[in-house]
Symmetry: C2
Subunit: 324 residues, 2 copies
């Protein structure tokens, strides 16, 4: 069996997504769904699902509805999170609630969450795993809501500690990446052990990349990332670098850092924060944590000796060189 590469899967999935754009009535419910589906994005989650499935099976069309299900779940969460975060932009375009209003973004988001389950049932029915897929999705979906709530709660705290922060990004971001692989494996009829190794691979990959995202936000080249350098600092967002610096400081130095971080946004001057990060070698520390997660992710694949995980291993390099 020839394993399909990332690019091939991306093109196949994209064609399926467009072929299945919803056309129901009233159109006012489905237009926002079509809108967010066409804003781009790399379709990482459906591709992870298809890659996991492809380790055992070749008939990718059977897994396409499930792949669309995780993309729908992701887009549902973006629609609702963007309202909660009052985010005006999504993937460089006006966010759904800016174009269609908050009521539509709430209701069309609900419809996408419901369709996520409908699509899982569609793939699972033929393969006899419909209930199992929905169970796994339910548990993950609730964890992702918990992650979003933790994220909102954190913004009101001075100092989530490092393990609280990691638990938040595990639930909010990494869980859906792991779950995408998990669902692909279940659909392919993989054994529980392999399905769980793939879940853990996806989760560790997700943790690694979220930390990399945090690093790039602060230390990345704005031309390469397409985002303003230090955006998180200017917004006072408590990302991994903040949490790590906070943990390394104590007493008056810690109080001074909290004050400095809060002032950076108000005074539009990030320099004092960079000075602290430099003194504490935060970039080096965060990079080590990032690499440790990627290493742990790869170790999961090494335990899977009966299937060829080369394509999936390649993800760790492919994703490292692009924004996900």
């Amino acid at each position: 069996m020839r394993l399909k590469d990332f690019q091939f899967l991306a093109e196949e999935f994209s064609a399926f997504l467009f072929a299945r754009q919803p056309k129901g009535e009233p159109d006012s419910l489905y237009a926002p769904v079509r809108y967010i589906n066409t804003l781009g994005g790399k379709h990482i989650r459906p591709i992870l699902l298809l890659m996991a499935y492809n380790l055992w099976k070749d008939d990718l069309d059977k897994a396409m509805p499930a792949a669309l299900a995780v993309e729908y779940f992701h887009n549902f969460s973006l629609m609702h999170d963007d309202i909660m975060d009052a985010a005006p932009l999504r993937r460089g375009n006006p966010s759904v609630h800016k174009v269609y209003g908050e009521n539509s973004a709430i209701l069309s988001g609900d419809a996408m969450l419901i369709q996520c389950f409908g699509l899982l049932l569609e793939s699972g029915k033929e393969m006899g795993s419909a209930a199992h897929l929905c169970e796994v999705m339910c548990q993950a979906a609730l964890e992702i809501c918990e992650g979003q709530q933790l994220d909102m709660d954190f913004e009101k705290m001075d100092s989530p500690n490092e393990s609280q922060y990691l638990e938040m990004i595990r639930k909010k971001t990494a869980c859906l990446l792991g779950t995408s692989m998990h669902l692909g494996a279940i659909l392919a009829g993989a054994e529980e052990r392999d399905a769980h190794l793939l879940y853990t691979f996806g989760e560790k990959l997700g943790l690694g990349f979220q930390i990399q995202d945090d690093i790039l936000d602060v230390f990345g080249d704005a031309i390469l990332t397409g985002k303003q350098q230090g955006g998180d600092i200017l917004q006072g967002k408590k990302n991994f670098l903040y949490v790590a610096a906070y943990a390394q400081l104590s007493g008056k130095a810690r109080d001074a850092f909290v004050e400095t971080y809060a002032m950076a946004g108000k005074q539009k001057d990030t320099e004092p924060v960079y000075t602290v990060y430099g003194e504490l070698a935060i970039e080096k520390y965060a990079s080590e944590v990032h690499r440790a997660y990627i290493r742990e992710a790869v170790e999961c694949l090494e335990e899977m000796v009966e299937v060829d995980t080369t394509q999936i291993r390649g993800l760790t390099h492919l994703l490292a060189s692009r924004k996900h």
Copy 2:
């Protein structure tokens, strides 16, 4: 087999709901769920599910998670609809978004929708019908979203016609009542024919009671209904009576009525609307439509000859004498 009555099922369900109040972390996600669960309500939907199940089976504890699932779906939709409708009160108490904020009402509503599927899977797994239950729920859930969207779209129109209005309340309200019975029947292993008759019974009952609700709003005794008489008129809400009057009028008389209805709220004077309704005998017409739906509902039960539907038939009287 002795069939359980409404009161017994209401008490059993209420005990189960309280025993299963969610206690996860972060508590900020689950506190709004516990709050809306304790605001009361008659638990009509879970009781319909249990009554349908009880036509064939006696072990009600097996159906309790599914009964809780439809209550969770209903409460999810209330949480989100109350944001969309900017409704400050729910069952006489501050609505969820007034107590916890809109972000929490969005996210905790999402969590309830997800838990609805988890609870269906819990009941269905043991009985071997998990995927089937989820399929039926998915389809209904999407229709209910369509109904809410139609309702919002209608408020911007001069005149939904009568069949558009009925389609809206069928989707927004009646569908979940029918689906509750449908799910109970599937869970009990009923044949498709019976499951569909029960769906239609619930749907017709729902249509009938929504129209009764509209009648009571305009012509009901405020002391008995607990609501201000003519509340819909004052809010300019296009209920069944408005739609029926609009349909019977034409030309200048119709234009005058639209104007009169719009002015009633602004001038806090409902009398001119009551005059038009009196001339057109709208209350009598609406009551006939209401009774026709209840009759059609009962006819569905009459087609089910192998089970004892006495308790369910009693609902048509029981519900007629109380606010649902």
